[in-house]
Symmetry: C2
Subunit: 329 residues, 2 copies
């Protein structure tokens, strides 16, 4: 029992395949109402649905919008982005599909586009190599959008700013009178760069106010964090800690409390990600929150914009973020 094709519908309705095609998706009034009626009815009777792959072959692009996910641990922010982006893309009428951009994988994003010829591609700017944009456009992809820290040449990029996260956290601490801040940042391929950027942002904000800022790198692991803090605090105790993420922050707090220091009185601690659990800890955790919904909405806007081919590529957008004040800082 094979699926019916447009030829079957044509035969059933006593018209040609062209008429079927026009009726089903041609610009409205090419077909006489009476004919259309017959075609529609025949299609319904047969349970006809056009074959999207054939259409893709003909048109050069499919109905899919491919969303590349950077190869970082899928924490709360990324999970939320997947969730929200999926919804907003679906609302544009396209089919959102996700791909985990594997680090050094052969399945690079251009390959994937070649494979499914998506209508749109939204991918982390790190996943773009110099020829990537040109390549995927050549493969038929109409809307190419990057997101991430650095703009991609010739591609509309929705910028994020890890530095802003850092400066945001630092400014919060500065406003509360902290004058000696320590960054606690990760090592390890996938996270180290992000850590460096957050730290740089914090450092810049501190420099503006002539406040001391240092940072220390460590594995994210209870023992390692404790050791790192022991080393760094031994010489001089900072009044506040800016932790790479909430997990890290919590490890730090745990260490501080164990050494008899009070949080936030002796040392304040601020984290990142605003994990679901952050508000439930004691002390509850002050954390930087990212506006993922807004970010995803921007992505969808840019997509919509590229659908109607008007505006030229332009760097745009910026994720908003803010500190959620709680007890720890």
């Amino acid at each position: 029992m094979k699926a019916p094709t447009s030829a079957d519908v044509a035969r059933e309705a006593g018209v040609s395949r062209a008429t079927v095609s026009y009726t089903l998706n041609g610009t409205s009034s090419r077909i006489r109402a009476e004919t259309r009626e017959r075609v529609l009815e025949a299609a319904a009777r047969l349970g006809y649905a056009s074959n999207p792959v054939a259409k893709t072959l003909k048109l050069g692009y499919s109905h899919v919008v491919l969303l590349g996910i950077p190869p970082v641990p899928l924490g709360p922010p990324v999970a939320e982005m997947i969730s929200v982006a999926s919804r907003v893309i679906a609302e544009t009428g396209y089919l959102p599909l996700f791909h985990l951009d594997q680090p050094g994988s052969q399945a690079d994003i251009a390959q994937v586009c070649h494979e499914i010829q998506p209508f749109g591609l939204i991918a982390p700017s790190e996943s773009f190599r110099s020829e990537t944009a040109e390549l995927v456009r050549g493969h038929g992809t109409r809307a190419v959008i990057a997101y991430g820290e650095r703009p991609v040449a010739g591609v509309t990029t929705v910028l994020t700013s890890q530095e802003t996260i850092g400066s945001c956290a630092a400014r919060y601490l500065l406003e509360r009178g902290h004058r000696d801040i320590l960054g606690l940042m990760p090592v390890g391929d996938d996270l180290v760069d992000i850590g460096r950027l957050r730290s740089a942002g914090a450092r810049a904000a501190c420099r503006e106010q002539r406040v001391r800022y240092r940072s220390v790198q460590t594995e994210i692991d209870t023992e390692a964090v404790a050791a790192a803090l022991r080393r760094s605090i031994g010489s001089r105790r900072p009044s506040a800690l800016f932790a790479f993420n909430d997990e890290c922050a919590l490890m730090a707090i745990r260490y501080l409390l164990e050494t008899g220091l009070r949080v936030p009185d002796d040392v304040a601690v601020i984290g990142c990600d605003d994990s679901p659990l952050a508000g439930l800890l004691r002390p509850s955790l002050t954390s930087v929150h990212f506006d993922i919904s807004g970010f995803s909405a921007t992505l969808a806007d840019v997509l919509r914009q590229q659908v109607s081919p008007e505006q030229p590529p332009a760097q745009t957008g910026e994720t908003s973020m803010r500190v959620i004040p709680r007890e720890s800082a």
Copy 2:
């Protein structure tokens, strides 16, 4: 500058398109070594890559394995599953793509399969309606695999068991002498069913040992949890709490501590999910951990099995899980 087609390569090498096709992916020795050489070289010179969409149209299925994600909040276990499954599927040589199965969306999983004609489909059993399997097989999908609580007729299903999670948690508590256990379960469309199952498992385990088990439903929200506990504990204080997830558990702990009860001495608390933060809380949180890696590996095994068409569909697999003992219970 269009991409070269097999016709271009054929011309360049002075052979027919068929020869090109056979050389590039035909069963080995149909082509004379010397001819193959010429073809390969021509292909390389032109930078030829065969068009997967055309191939899909011809063959009826693509190179993609579609992984459906159930419409639940993307917490740690789901995130890990996405991550791991992506890797293991990629290792089978297929292209893993994800789709968030929207609740009542028109983009149901059969539609998506129709759209991209994936080689394989791995989807939550809730996403299967009665005709789904037949439908997607009709669309060309060769390997259909379900995962979840309930088996799907005619489809190899990798079973998970929320009930086992519940009984696992309960048994842990029973072993430690608890004789009055309270389940704390969520309301709300996406989670309520899972909660019921976990609770049922716990109840069954308790009944075996003639131990009292009750459960209470609540929004997962600090106030609501507190209110629910106040009501339930008011009448009779359980010796242990089985919380739906770690977030819930933490809210409960917070409430208990605020009312002057000690954890675990007065009331023990066990959570689910083994969140990254669970080990860092104080008291650190005892939690049920799921073996996602093993689960994903099973998925990949079943996929591999279906690739070589031998075994008949068989219900199989079961996720292993265990309690990670920490301070709270």
